[in-house]
Structure formats: structure tokens, C-alpha cells
Amino acid sequence: MGVHEIEDAKLIFNFGYNGADSHPIVQRRIVRAKQKGATIICADPRVTEAARIADVHLQLKGGTNIALVNAMCNVIYNEGLVDQHFIDTMSVDYDAFVEIIKKYTPEYAETICKVPAELIRKAARMYAKAPSAMILYGMGVCQFGQAVDVVKALGSLALMTGNYGKPASGIGPVRGQNNVQGACDMGALPNNYPGYQNVTNPDVQAKFEKAWGVKLSNKVGVPLTHVPQRVLEEKDPAKKLHAYYIFGEDPAQSDPDVAEIRETLEKLDFVIVQDIFMNKTAEFADVILPSTSWNEHDGVYSCCDRGFQRIRKVVEPPSTVKTDWEIICEISTAMGYKMKYKNTEEIWNELIDLCPNFAGATYEKIEKYGCIQWPCRSKDMNDKGTVFLHNGKFATADGKGKFYTAEWRPPQELENEEYPLSFSTVREVGHYSVRTMTGNCRMLRNLEDEPGWIQMNPADCEKLHIKHGDLVKVMNKRGWCITRCNATERVAKGATYMTYQWWIGCCNELTIGSNLDPVSNTPEYKYCNCRVEKIDDQAAAWDYVNNEYKDLRSRMGIKMIGEEA
């Protein structure tokens, strides 16, 4: 399915996805769909913009996603709202799936999710009875210790109601960052070559060895989130990491438990940071390689809907700055493997010839059609790619959809007496990712600046004698930060939320790095505990914030208002 289809959806099940803050442009399509009469079900612990306009808002407690999905499946199953023909002809493993969901009656789920059973029923009926229904999910699903299970369960929800292979149906991950999909497509994963070709597959290995003229490893690499463990805890010297080449990433800001990350970066023998602006991670770098930004080079991005899109250079970079691919070529060459390309098209052509699913996605075609959704296997101009991945049959080995769900597992770190509130990271519109880019935009910095906000229910604020706008100290056993209190009815009692772009109000001081999803290795950004403390001397706290910020910026060489660079 394509992002544009959202507008034509009859029903949108918006699960753990806050488009208004993450991708306003996608949210626009959700709003349009609503205007055109779509029903919207929103599952989110907060009153997001999508929740606000939803017909049903399932305001579940954080970390209970799968219980809610199972319960909806339970209702659909028990009330006979399934698409039996679709299940019979198009799927496998239904019975095992049913065995698990049987237990998840809405009443049982209510005890876990804190969503009224009747509301779960209502949502389930709405979803099942819709002529076509589209599931959109985001980081509210993915950034948990139990994440892939939920994705599969949502997939099963769509499967049992036959919501595949037709317009505005199916299940769509609306990825965290632009070109996350592209990074995966290009093999920026520990286990894959480009085009999702596994490094352990000997045929694939042979193909790439032949193409590149070198021997290649058949061992799966280290996931990003395993880096601290491999540096700090690994005893096997063969497995221990010594060097870290980081580009387009700021783990010291964006990875969980940044205290641990800082320790990791310090312990490493050699750190290279390749980025467009200074960031916190670069402070630990032995070498900093400045590279061009998105408007200073050519390339291809993948949209979350598998669509390849061209990006083009519009600004000439400073003479001392090279593109990522040029830097890689030069380093590779310096290290003994002579790598030389004339331009990105040459790289792209090599890549698509090695990836059967991308083979037909030539520059020419992307240029002509604006976007090519893979799989696109033929260079023939008539192969315009694939809109529905699961069209007529599933893109699996047996052509069938596989039912799957799992029992609910609670998050690893729950609230307790010492840290009575739950803590989750979220996005805010206006500042992107780790804020190196948008923080340099004066306009956006004026709109919002350090030290960010912690969203809290007014009742919790009142208990702590904190007013909206007060600086507060947020802490748990891993760390603390200072931020401002945003008292808002949009969050439930007992839950707190911080956006992850603030350098001073840095939420990742608190997040937990150890509870990774076993499949995706994604950390549990969306759940840990915390305590919020009132700060009596607000003026001193502001001094602290301002000085820290000033200090950090001067270390990074960023010019402050009224200050020389």
C-alpha cells in the first residue's frame, strides 16, 4: 500500500503512531481521510492529534499493545466477524493463533490495558465490519521489548478479516525517520546485503564475492544496540569491539541509556563520526569526517511504502566537504580496496543489478514515474513496481499469510515506590530527530528550545506541587535530566512523556538499553520508570540549563544569539 492511499481509507486503525508530530504530511492524509468520511480508531496512551479526531480512542496503558490486539482478535473471532474464506485460502497457522487469543477476552484485556471492554468490542466490530481497513503503526509498537510480536499480531488482525491485497487496506509501518526504509533496503543491517539478501546464504555470498572481487564474511554482524555490551562486557577478545565508525547517527543522544553509551564511546579505541553537523557523539570522536547534507548531494530515498524516490543536489557544498559515498570510496581505497564511482547512478546501477527485487528500479524509471515501489524486477519500462506487496498471494515462500501472536509480556522496568511514574519517549513536531539540523534553524529554535518538556497529567503535577512551565528534575536509577513541566490532560495519570531531541532535557539519560526486542533488537524506548522532582530554586535551575546549553553549544562551535562564534 502507498501513503497516498491513506486518504481513501474507509477505516484507519492508527496504532501507536503519532503522525501529527512525527510526519505531519502523513497526518494530513489521515485528516483528509476523516474529512472524506473514514472511520478512525486510534490506539494510543496519549490523546494525540489522531486520537482527538478518532471515532474510538483506545487509551491503553503503555506496554500492553499485544493484549489489546489479541482482545480485538478475540472479539472478531467470537462474534464470527472473520473472513473465513480468506483465512481458509490465504493463510496458515490459524488454529494456533486462535488458541492464544481465546484467553484474551475484552474483560481480561481490560485488566491489562485499562481500556474498557466495551470499547475494545466496539473498535473490533468497527474494524471487522469496515469494507476495507488500513492499519498504520509507528514507534508506539516498535520501541518495546515486545514489538515484533505486536506487528505480527496486527498482521494477523488484518489477515483474519481479509484486509490485504486491496486498496487502502493492509498494515503499514510508518517508519521513524525518513529513509529508514532506505537504510534497510540498502543493507544497513547486520544480517543482510542490499535487497534483504542474507549474509549467511552461500549463493548470495558467492554472488557478492564475484561482483566485488573479494572474499566476504558469512557471519551476521553486530546490531547497533548490542554495541555497548560488545564494548563494555564482552570478554572474548575476538568479539570485543575496538573501533566504531558512525555516520548519520548520534548514539550519545538517541540511543537508550546514554550514560552507558558515553562509557562505551570512551572505552572504544577508535571512533569515527561522519555527519553534517557537530553532535554529542562527535565529542568522543577521534576523527570527524564532515559530509554533505541532503540538499548537497544526489541519491535515492525509500519511502516507508517501499517507494524509491530520487533526491537531487540543489546546493553546492563547501569545498572541504565530501559526499558520504566519496568518503567511503576514499577510505576503502586507502584501506586497500580500490573503490571508484563516477556518480550515484553508477553505484545505484551496480546495486540494483545485485538485488533481484530492485533490478528494474532504474534512475530513468524513478525519474519518469516519480516513485517506484519495489519489488520491481524488470528493467522494462512497463514494470512500474508493486503497489500491493501481498496481492493475490502473499510474498512468502508458500504464498500464504502466517498467523501469529504471542502472550503479553510486561515491559522490563515497571513503576515502583521509588520511581512511581512510567516514562516514555515521543516525538514533537518542529524538531527533527537529535535536533542537530533543526536546532541550527533559528526559526525552529525560536519556536521551541532547551530544555524541552515532560508531559504529565495535571493531577500528578498537583500532587508534586509543580506548575505548568516549572523546571523539574526527572530521574531514575540510570540517570536524570532537567526539563520543563507540561501539564496536559492529554496524558493519563501516572504516565510521563519526553521528546528525545533535547540536549539538556535529555530523556535518554533515563531510557533502558537492556530490554531489546529479540527479533528486531529495538530497545524499549517507550517504557521505563521515573520520578519527577520539584525544583525549589527555579532561578538556579535556569542558570544551570542556560550554562549547560551555552557550554555544549560552544563546545560544538554553534553561535548563540548575541555571541560570536
Partner: protein, 181 residues
Amino acid sequence: MRKFVKGNPDLCIGCRTCMIGCVVEHEGRRIFEIDPDGYDFNPRLHMVKTAKISVPVQCKHCENPACMAACPVNCIKVINDAVVIDTDSCIGCKSCVQACPFGAIDMVSKIGTQQADGSMRVVANKCDLCVGTGNGPACVRVCPTSALTLVDEEKLKEVVCDKRVATANAAKVFADAKEVE
């Protein structure tokens, strides 16, 4: 009738592009290139988010503006059918802020201007419908979800007339039924 910009909470996604658009429009297009000290960041509309609502709030350009009536130095005027504050003559007394029932006016410091004691001047700030730019309100133009509408006499007439016709149609059904009785 005076025009005004109206936000629609059903469409608004709370992104604040309108606020940025407002500042850019009022400070000139080269804002991204000029000295960071050289401009005011004073959006003339304010994003409000409550539990149920997200929508920017701004001046309604009332027909009989309470702010204008309250201003002791007559620095609030009607220009091209927009109620506009002349910030050069504003003395920052906040009477208008007090008078406005919508909270559409706030007080902002005006970069580059000084009082006798050297401190920055603080003046009343509110939507001026981008009067004089010739482009119409920037907030309306930049909103990604078209949540803002410039309501002019025509538009208001259209909305009200539609409602009146609907009312008449309903009354007709009622009257016909009564006749059958």
C-alpha cells in the same frame, strides 16, 4: 465586514507551521539568511492544545474591537478592514490585552527598539491579517491541512446562507407534515 482567520480544530494537527509562517511573513523572506539578532520571533497567533482541541487562536478582527476601544493612545486602527496595532505608538499599557476576550493579544519585546532607560520596548502584538503584504494571511497559506480559513463577507454569507437554506428545508418538511395532519 472585517475579515478574519478561523482555525478548524477538526483539521488542525497542532504543527505550528502557521506560527512560523506568521513570523516569516512579518519579518521578511530573507529571515533564514539574516543576523539572528535582527528579527523578532513574535508569532501573532498561538497554538492552543487542550485535551479535546488543537487549534491556533488569533484576533477575530471584531467589528467593534474591545482592544481599540480600550487603547488610551489610539494606536489600534482599522487598516484595509483589518484591526491593526501601530507598534510604533504602542506604550505597552496592556489595556488591549485586558480588553480582548480571546487572548488574541500578547506583549512582545521589539528587537532594535529602546526605552529611555535602555531596556527593550515591549509592545502589544496580534494578527494583522498580513495587511499590506498583498499575499493574504500567511497562516492560511502555509497550513498543511488547510485548517485555517480566511472568512470574509462572502465566505460568511455563504456559510450563513447555507445554514438558512437548510433551516428552511427542514421547516418545509415540518410544515408539509403539519398540513397532512
